[in-house]
Symmetry: D2
Subunit: 93 residues, 4 copies
Amino acid sequence: MAVAELCLFPLGTGSPSVGKYLEPVLEVIKASGLKYYVCPMGTVVEGSVEEILELVKKCHEAMLKAGAKRIVINLKIDDRVDKSLTIEGKMGV
Amino acid sequence: MAVAELCLFPLGTGSPSVGKYLEPVLEVIKASGLKYYVCPMGTVVEGSVEEILELVKKCHEAMLKAGAKRIVINLKIDDRVDKSLTIEGKMGV
Amino acid sequence: MAVAELCLFPLGTGSPSVGKYLEPVLEVIKASGLKYYVCPMGTVVEGSVEEILELVKKCHEAMLKAGAKRIVINLKIDDRVDKSLTIEGKMGV
Amino acid sequence: MAVAELCLFPLGTGSPSVGKYLEPVLEVIKASGLKYYVCPMGTVVEGSVEEILELVKKCHEAMLKAGAKRIVINLKIDDRVDKSLTIEGKMGV
């Protein structure tokens, strides 16, 4: 299992406050069934690399539907095969 | 069309030189048919968000096959719907 | 005030487990006096851009001292001048 | 010597085209005296970690002066002590 941090934001919105574009993304993450953990700079999820990439696609679609004209996605995945990574395990450094 | 930068590297390989894990990843990118551009800190590709995420999955599999036990993936996507982004367009700032 | 996420890891260590290189980095962050918040994929800090960059330098030095031969640093800063960003504010989306 | 990729962009600018905020940043990089290489998803520079962090501070100031109200900075540094990294060396994978 892998742990990933996902961060999307829209460019060219009329205001520096972009919460209304982020809310539908968080709804998609919650609905995914994957374990998640909201962090200040992104949302962390736990799953297989395939599940995580599928989720990124849905988050991108949700932000487009929210009206974003340009979207920057930052994704960082940490995947380990000799033992399974978990959100909780990675919190203990 | 979106432009993305993809960077994978293995942890715990015993040597700070990790080229032998990167070569099969580059082969996968070349074989993908997507336009690509090798940069010092990652490889840039041009395609739909869906094509890019599919490619990430294949790159991850290639590095696992190369023997990596832990892989960190960094992906940054820039997607724009009011006009199409291209590698060349983004080089002109 | 800005909020930043900082993530360092060593390449070429003998094992995929890199906790012993991360511990001294966390000590440096704790000793900095900046407000911080440990996340699964990095540590989030709150401060001016100048304070954050100064901290990155010290974290890098700490990981070198821990014996790392190659270090990858990922830093993401979110800075806003029309109102002050805080870790707590950014947790509420 | 380290190699780093630096990417800044402004949020809330009203238009998805942000080139006028990026131009002064590129001017700062050119004036720094560091070797640089413009990539589609950021600009790559070569220098010590200290020089790179100093440059990030100046780029941030330049984008603020250009009128940005909220700035997201992405910095990735690859530093190696057993041999010196260069932009050219890293292009050969």
